[in-house]
């Protein structure tokens, strides 16, 4: 059985990004659209993030992940937006032909007027680490453990060490502790944590869990199940220092060592991928270099705040609607590049001659105190944002005002400047 359909807009992924994009496009009058979601329910990764702290920017209150997701699901339902769950997208071509498969509908091929990619990100797996040791069970990514505990009601272990001090790892340190496990340590390769201070205090310090900065796991022990690990201090070159080994008896090691945008489909569509963000290169409209294919949310670049994901995705939805209507003509662009101390500015291109506000988002390469992010065009300063602190753990946003954007006459660079 194979069905061939035509849609004005196909949205790949029903997480917060896909939902926001669909809502925006619908509000602009696009009715012949569909959201395709692999899981049994929409909501994306937020379904397993049962802790609170979501939505402060967008709703002015602190919600849990499921509550945040539900607001968009409710809105989508109210509008009548079709969300087709249990459906995996297998391929998106450059010509915007989307192939997907589901048990109910079988194989479907959809010719789409526009496509929005919103597949989210995945965690770096164990293989990407190169930690020496046996292939025993008991080593999970923190997100996998989060899914077990929060969605499936199953505790993956009793004595736990966490490698990586990103927010997901910190959240899981507390979660496992509250469920009765003993979390022995959180081990971080870098001399600083990329997690929020709030999470360091409320997830580690509250439960007396030690944080070992500039340390890493150097050995994994156990035949069938993990029985222990060895942790060593690392030098400034991030290599283990001999003689600094510590041993922990544990049955579980959780890895929280970074997120990677999930871009197999994007590559398949011949979209240019940025080596810095690992996501598509986009214009200010969030259109990729393949006409009519847009990207937003964690598949574009890894966000720490879902509020920013929603904001970005609304813009993608509006732009895709304009494309479908023929109101988004191909335009010449200026290039936006990373200057000193800056990594992964999005968008990478701004259309020439528009007068709309553009938000530049990036991560500082290191911690900068009392610093400015400076935006320059042809060597001339066009915007500056000062802050007491910039950290790699927090995405920085510098808005360019509409009149500044209208005046762009050459390539743009964003760089950090200390002292202001």
């Amino acid at each position: 059985m194979m069905e061939h359909l035509k849609k004005d807009l196909v949205i790949v992924g029903g997480g917060p990004a896909g939902l926001a994009a669909a809502i925006a496009a619908w509000e602009d009058g696009i009715r012949n659209l569909v959201v395709l979601e692999r899981e049994h329910q929409a909501g994306g990764i937020l379904r397993q993030c049962i802790h609170n702290g979501f939505g402060l920017h967008r709703f002015g209150e602190e919600l849990t992940g499921p509550e945040y997701a539900q607001r968009d699901i409710d809105r989508a339902k109210e509008l009548g937006i079709p969300i087709q769950c249990d459906t995996t997208v297998l391929e998106v071509t450059e010509e915007r032909q989307v192939t997907c498969v589901s048990e109910q509908e079988g194989l479907q091929i959809i010719d789409a007027g526009a496509v929005i990619l919103s597949m989210g990100c995945r965690e770096r797996p164990r293989g990407a680490l190169g930690t020496p040791g046996t292939r025993c069970s008991g080593v999970f990514t923190a997100g996998t453990a989060q899914k077990f505990v929060n969605l499936e009601g199953y505790m993956p272990g009793k004595r736990v060490v966490i490698l990586g001090s990103g927010d997901i790892g910190l959240i899981m340190a507390r979660r496992m502790t509250l469920q009765g496990a003993k979390v022995l340590a959180c081990v971080e390769l870098m001399p600083f944590s990329s997690g929020l201070n709030r999470n360091i205090v409320q997830c580690l310090e509250d439960y007396n869990i030690p944080l070992y900065l500039s340390h890493t796991v150097t050995k994994i022990e156990g035949r069938d199940r993990l029985t222990g690990i060895e942790v060593s201090e690392v030098g400034p070159d991030r290599r283990p220092i001999p003689g600094t080994q510590m041993h922990f008896d544990c049955d579980t090691l959780l890895l929280s060592v970074g997120l990677l945008p999930e871009n197999e489909l994007t590559r398949g569509a011949n979209v240019t991928i940025s080596p810095v963000t690992s996501g598509a290169e986009v214009e200010d409209t969030l259109q990729t270099d393949r006409p009519g294919i847009f990207a937003c949310g964690n598949v574009l670049h890894v966000h720490d705040l879902v509020d920013f994901v929603s904001e970005e995705s609304f813009r993608a939805g509006h732009a895709a609607a304009a494309f479908v209507r023929g109101n988004l003509p191909k335009a010449e662009t200026v290039r936006v590049s990373d200057g000193e101390g800056v990594r992964g500015v999005v968008p990478q291109k701004i259309r020439k001659g528009i007068s709309e506000e553009v938000r530049l988002m990036f991560r500082p390469a290191q911690v900068f105190k009392k610093a400015s992010a400076v935006v320059e065009c042809n060597g001339r300063e066009i915007a500056r944002k000062r802050a007491m602190i910039f950290t790699p753990g927090e995405m920085a946003v510098v808005p360019l005002k509409a009149d500044v954007v209208a005046g762009l006459d050459g390539d743009v660079t964003v760089r950090m400047e200390v002292g202001s």
């Binding site: 049962i50 499921p66 509550e67 499936e152 205090v201």
Partner: protein, 119 residues
Amino acid sequence: MLEERIITCINCPMGCRMNVQLEDGAVKSVTGNTCKRGETYAHQECTMPVRMVTAVVAVKDSPMPLSVKTRTPIPKAKIFECMKELSRVTVSRPVHEKDVVLENVCGTGVDVIATRNLL
């Protein structure tokens, strides 16, 4: 009794390390904060620390649990007792977001409510 505590302000990425001087449990002085928010936080944290608790509870006839939260933060010292009370709760379908799952948890006056629908 004099006491000294070192705490980290959580209100912004600066993460100021603050030195708090306490006398018989009352805050005498706060140093190390960069702005007023740090001082307010130090007072709160050293006299009446509170936390939101989020967790899951069992669902009758299903292995998949239901996510819940305290409606407002509860005293930090009550977190484990709260978890213990929640481990004894089993809910039956249907449950709607915001439905009360457990009233007045540990005598705090705070209810525990569902954070998703279970239909």
